[in-house]
């Protein structure tokens, strides 16, 4: 029984260490996923985008103090959460593709 417990504990430590290492490696190149609990300024911060751009993309008056979660905005706008997240992703992608003003494309 003790040997079984010992082996299980070693296996658990190994499994969770490997998983933590994998997540750490992925962190460098993958953007944070957009979740329904996030507010628009939160998404803007994690994706290095201006919050006004994202508010405009989802047709909500820009307000950096608007801390409503995306799912609440979706409910008020009578839109599915997935659709709102899709709009935000599209706005982030197009913002990333647009070069800063004054530079050649």
């Amino acid at each position: 029984m003790l040997v079984l417990g010992f082996c299980l504990a070693i296996a658990a430590a190994f499994f969770f260490s490997i998983r933590a290492g994998r997540t750490a490696r992925r962190m460098h190149w993958r953007n944070e996923s957009i979740q329904p609990w996030m507010s628009v300024p939160f998404v803007a911060h994690t994706h290095h985008t201006r919050s006004e751009v994202l508010f405009e993309a989802i047709h909500v008056p820009p307000n950096p103090r608007d801390r409503r979660p995306i799912r609440d905005i979706a409910r008020e706008e009578k839109l599915p959460v997935a659709e709102l997240i899709r709009q935000l992703r599209a706005a982030i992608a197009s913002n990333e593709a647009t070069p800063p003003s004054g530079q050649a494309p």
Partner: protein
């Protein structure tokens, strides 16, 4: 459930933080580490005051821990007394109590910020073992303050990577717990082998 908690934190800030950390300290399986990391990120964004968040996180956790300790102290001892025959004789229970008291400070301190899944159980065990309330509170306060400061700071540093950092820390916590369990069981195995080999 977890999503609702995170939404409440993003929307309401510090009051939501206090309620969640206090409930988690009672033993509810809530992602407090992730919550503190998100708090650090919110502080970086200017949505929350970092010092207020630190005080509220530490105070909420300590409040929950105190309830856990009180339940163990007044409810746990009665249970131990009732099951003394099942758990072992009175002499064995006394020995276990003494062991819990001697390891009390370190157990309380490390379970506040390093092996957090053990926290609520250590609260109950400390109360049931009759560990000094003053010492429990002192180690609890130091451990919870360190935990709140550490995870809020990590959230500040990795403010755009909160979910990944939360997942890594959660996994590392379980890995450390696994290593501790392996060390304990390994020591038990070694002790059992040496005593059986020296027996005539």
């Amino acid at each position: 459930m977890i999503e609702q908690l995170l939404a409440a934190l993003t929307h309401y800030g510090s009051p939501a933080l206090f309620v969640v950390v206090a409930i988690a300290a009672l033993g509810a399986p809530l992602p407090v580490t992730l919550l503190l990391i998100i708090t650090g990120s919110l502080a970086t964004q200017g949505a929350i005051n970092v010092w207020l968040a630190f005080v509220i996180a530490a105070a909420g956790s300590v409040a929950g821990d105190q309830v856990g300790y009180a339940v163990g102290r007044w409810g746990g001892r009665k249970l131990v007394a009732r099951f003394t025959g099942v758990l072992g004789d009175a002499e064995q229970i006394k020995k276990l109590d003494a062991k819990a008291k001697s390891w009390g400070g370190a157990g309380v301190f490390f379970s506040r910020w390093l092996v957090t899944p053990l926290g609520p159980w250590i609260n109950l065990a400390s109360g049931a073992a009759g560990y000094s309330w003053l010492q429990f509170t002192l180690w609890d306060l130091i451990g919870e303050s360190l935990g709140a400061a550490l995870y809020i700071w990590l959230g500040h540093v990795f403010s755009d990577r909160v979910q990944e950092v939360g997942a890594i820390l959660g996994d590392l916590g379980w890995a450390i717990l696994g290593l501790l369990a392996a060390a304990f069981l390994g020591w038990k195995l070694f002790f059992n082998r040496t005593t059986s080999s020296t027996r005539p």
